[in-house]
């Protein structure tokens, strides 16, 4: 099991949970992102995720490094899927293990917030009546205000 992965294969959240567990683990928090059937009033048919893969892998590794700096006892894995995903399929899976629950929850939340900020992956939404590229954050890993914002959300 690789801690970071960008793949067209189906994601297996249970495998991530197993992978992060160590004898010192007292808690494992997970986040599983799904393709939902609606977005901003549109009926979503499916999504196609595109990635700049080598940079996406590096960005995921960076997120794990950042999390390790803040929560040294946490063990994380983050996998993101690309390609065509149907409603109900898993687009992103994160598992965070730590001796106590607070670090596991915080590290898991931090990881998904940072995924949305700095990982070069894009959603192409196909809905009833058309399609649209979803555009969120301008990716800048060195933007400390974005990082601080993710940290505040994680520790709220």
């Amino acid at each position: 099991m690789i801690a970071t992965r960008v793949t067209t294969d189906r994601l297996d959240p249970a495998a991530l949970v197993q992978a992060v567990e160590t004898p010192g683990s007292g808690a494992i928090a997970t986040f599983v992102g799904l393709v939902r059937d609606h977005n901003q009033g549109r009926r979503v048919l499916h999504l196609v995720y595109e990635a700049y893969e080598p940079l996406a892998e590096r960005a995921l590794t960076r997120i794990l490094d950042e999390a390790r700096d803040r929560w040294p006892t946490a063990v994380l894995a983050v996998h993101h899927r690309t390609g065509k995903l149907e409603v109900g399929q898993v687009s992103v899976a994160i598992a965070a293990a730590s001796p106590h629950r607070s670090e596991a929850f915080a590290a898991c939340r931090y990881a998904i917030e940072r995924v949305k900020q700095i990982v070069p992956i894009w959603k192409h939404e196909y809905f009833e009546g058309g399609d649209v590229w979803i555009e969120g954050a301008t990716a800048d890993p060195d933007d400390t205000s974005a990082r601080d914002s993710a940290m505040r959300i994680a520790c709220a």
Binding site: L55, A59, P120, W122, E135, G136, T138, A139, D140
Partner: protein
């Protein structure tokens, strides 16, 4: 010198290609590569204020100097998760 330009998502669609080979002067910065491309494809100009860039699959700045055979990528705002 030649550089490879990579484009993703809507930028890729606006240009009609995900990969282009372009000529720039030695010592050029990423902004020069972008400006040349935006002259060629004016539809991408609105992204000047919101995109990110990368050189050889590492995040870079518009002021980063590019070398021969570098891969210069322009990235619209991201939407993973």
């Amino acid at each position: 010198m030649r550089v490879t330009v990579r484009l993703f998502a809507r930028l890729r669609e606006l240009v009609g290609a995900g990969e282009l080979s372009r000529n720039v002067a030695a010592g050029a910065v990423v902004a020069v590569v972008w400006d040349d491309l935006a002259r060629e494809y004016p539809a991408i100009s609105p992204y000047a204020g919101s995109m990110s860039c990368a050189v050889n699959a590492e995040y870079a700045r518009m002021t980063t100097v590019v070398d021969e055979d570098d891969e210069v990528a322009f990235l619209p705002p991201v939407s993973g998760g």
